[in-house]
């Protein structure tokens, strides 16, 4: 039985349809990340799961039971918010135990649960403080503690790391991963940060305009993007996308007229004359040592940036922009013309019109 099933969920606000039929089935212990930019409907979907918003159509089932019309408190869920949402005049101790207190859990049992949770999150020393006396990171730990203490079937996280600074965000991310591995909880996590999605998820649902563009493991989403949008959204710097037309001799790039040989696995997928988009990740490109059998791009280098761990090279192929991530010790300067190669299987093809992957 699935821990969470979302069946054809729709949501409309007047004439605007923000969710256009979402289907997801989540097994117990899975970590699902809803990934997308602002306004894609990910938070609306989370609120519908939580019961904070009503679905206009479809069904949400938690532990096999339909929860449509069920009050949030009776859905067996816990939620962690972006703004922490701690009760300002209650101590950390009471904040964590609040859900149990409202459910009239006996004091001794509640005390035990709060202490265990505080120990797990290493916030025992903060129990007597008020939220205003805590740092952002500490507040988020308390908010996570408040969710954990109830041991619900499904945990919902609404961009929980967005308000933290970069270093703390990374630490808390690792902490969340550790907690998930240790407790084996079922989590639905909303974020617009693709690094968070890649590192935390067991499955990612990339959302766009109220639809799921792709639902798959981080590896699938990264290595086999289903659409051009997914290819561009996941990965930093984003995947290079070059317009081309399929010719008899290979793929002819728009603007420059360069021809790239069609890799073996894509032969037979596209017919001559078809407009396509070629996708190659910046980290798949490397400097060509000598002309060989691999596909190659002739690039005029415009900008070279050393980020520390890598050298980010931006240039042009004809009128089209290309970015490559090279090892930091590569010697390069702006203005030179270079040849980049990449492995055949690193090339992705998308239909120029439907933007769907061609395989």
């Amino acid at each position: 039985m699935s821990a969470l099933e979302i069946q054809n969920v729709r949501k409309t606000y007047g004439a605007v349809e923000t969710l256009k039929g979402i289907d997801i089935s989540l097994e117990s212990g899975e970590f699902l990340v809803l990934l997308g930019s602002s306004g894609c409907g990910k938070s609306t979907l989370l609120n519908i799961i939580a019961g904070l918003a009503e679905a206009s159509g479809g069904d949400v089932r938690i532990g096999g039971r339909s929860v449509l019309g069920v009050h949030p408190k009776d859905r067996d869920i816990a939620m962690v918010f972006q703004s922490y949402a701690l009760y300002p005049n209650l101590s950390v101790h009471r904040n964590i135990g609040f859900g149990l207190e409202m459910r009239k859990v006996p004091t001794a049992e509640r005390e035990k649960a709060v202490q265990e949770t505080a120990k797990l999150l290493q916030i025992e020393a903060l129990l007597d403080r008020k939220p205003s006396q805590l740092s952002g990171g500490q507040r988020q730990r308390v908010a996570i503690g408040r969710a954990l203490v109830r041991k619900p079937q499904v945990f919902l996280f609404d961009e929980p790391l967005s308000n933290l600074d970069a270093k703390l965000r990374m630490e808390t991310r690792t902490e969340l991963k550790r907690l998930h591995q240790m407790l084996g909880t079922t989590i639905v996590y909303v974020t617009h940060d693709q690094i968070e999605a890649m590192t935390l998820a067991t499955r990612i649902a990339v959302m766009r305009n109220g639809r799921i563009e792709q639902l798959g493991t981080p590896e699938e989403v990264y290595n086999r993007p289903a659409t051009l949008y997914v290819a561009g959204f996941v990965g930093s710097p984003p995947m290079n996308v070059l317009s081309a037309v399929v010719g008899d001799d290979g793929l002819r790039l728009d603007g420059s007229g360069q021809v790239i040989a069609l890799p073996g696995h894509l032969k037979g997928v596209v017919a001559a004359g078809r407009c396509v988009k070629i996708g190659v990740r910046p980290e798949a490109l490397r400097l060509a040592a000598e002309p060989g059998g691999q596909p190659a791009l002739q690039v005029e280098v415009e900008v070279v940036e050393l980020t520390g761990p890598e050298l980010v090279v931006t240039g042009r192929v004809g009128g089209q922009r290309v970015t490559a991530c090279l090892p930091p010790r590569t010697w390069l300067e702006a203005g030179v013309a270079l040849s980049f190669t990449f492995d055949e299987d690193a090339m992705h093809l998308f239909d120029a019109e439907t933007e769907q992957a061609l395989r």
Binding site: N47, A85, P88, N89, F98
Partner: protein
């Protein structure tokens, strides 16, 4: 520009205002203090110095004590009722429903009306011969015969308190409504998920955000209610049988009706002192609120 010349210029620029303040507040205040130590009448001689006689007589006099009790009754009951009504109205107007914006606008009306208009309106409602209240109560059978609500000592003060509440609860409601809108949506959502019922939500989610602004409203309204004059003057003039006489009315009567300027001044200063204590409480509260926000 050096610090000294800046200070000089600042003082120069403030001088006109300072001069006006001294003329309209400082001098009358000093004159009142001086007057309060004399037995001066409103017209005629300047009066003789009588020391603290006026103060002793005023404080120990039964008139003052009875009036103080009436004022306290008026202030405590009306402010309490305004706070309760104001918060309830704000909670209602914070819900989503059709016509909410119009209702929010309409609610301000009683508060925005001049007190004299308000008081006249309520005199008409309470009128013993053709008042709407009498008509309504007899028609629904709660009253056998028309009553003179403002003419009976037993009902006059309560009638005034109702009129004052009607005028002033919108201010509390406005302040509470503004505070309610500052309650973060995430905390409200968190409390729903945590299973808090309506009372727990009010206690742990709404009240912490409402308490500060409400305290300010409470003190401001208490100061106002303690100084009340106009609504009472228009509706009952302190009667019947002094049952609605508040401190401000007593000061007026003493100084102008009985023309005892000296004892009137001492009474006015005592009232000023009482209000100053409330104002100090307000200032302390504002400082505390400002401190807790940093």
């Amino acid at each position: 520009m050096s610090g000294t010349s800046m200070t000089t210029r600042a003082w120069l620029l403030m001088l006109p205002l300072l001069a006006v303040m001294i003329a309209v507040i400082g001098w009358p205040l000093i004159d009142t203090i001086h007057l309060s130590f004399t037995d001066a009448k409103l017209v005629g001689t300047a009066g003789n110095f009588v020391g603290i006689d006026n103060y002793v007589k005023t404080i120990t006099g039964s008139n003052f004590q009875r009036t103080l009790v009436t004022t306290a009754k008026f202030a405590i009951i009306s402010v309490f009722a305004e706070m309760v009504l104001g918060v309830l109205a704000a909670l209602l107007l914070n819900q989503e429903f059709r016509g909410r914006t119009m209702l929010r606008g309409l609610m301000i009306l009683p508060w925005a009306l001049p007190t004299v208009v308000n008081a006249t309106l309520w005199r008409l409602i309470y009128n013993p011969e053709y008042g709407a209240l009498n008509a309504a109560l007899t028609q629904i059978g709660l009253l056998d015969a028309y009553r003179s609500w403002l003419g009976e000592p037993g009902t006059a003060l309560a009638s005034l308190i109702i009129a004052d509440c009607w005028k002033n609860f919108p201010l509390v409601a406005l302040i509470a409504l503004a505070a309610l809108q500052a309650v973060p949506r995430d905390i409200q959502a968190a409390s729903l998920v945590d299973g808090a019922g309506p009372f727990a939500r009010f206690r742990f989610v709404t009240l912490p955000y409402l308490a500060g602004p409400l305290m300010v409203a409470l003190v401001l309204r208490t100061i106002e209610a303690f100084k009340v004059f106009d609504i009472i003057w228009v509706m009952t003039r302190g009667g019947p049988a002094n049952s609605t006489r508040t401190l401000s009315i007593l000061v007026y009567q003493e100084a102008f009706s009985f023309q005892r300027a000296g004892s009137g001044a001492s009474l006015a200063l005592i009232v000023t002192l009482l209000v100053a204590v409330l104002a100090a409480a307000y200032a302390a509260l504002v400082r505390k609120t400002a401190g807790s926000n940093t």
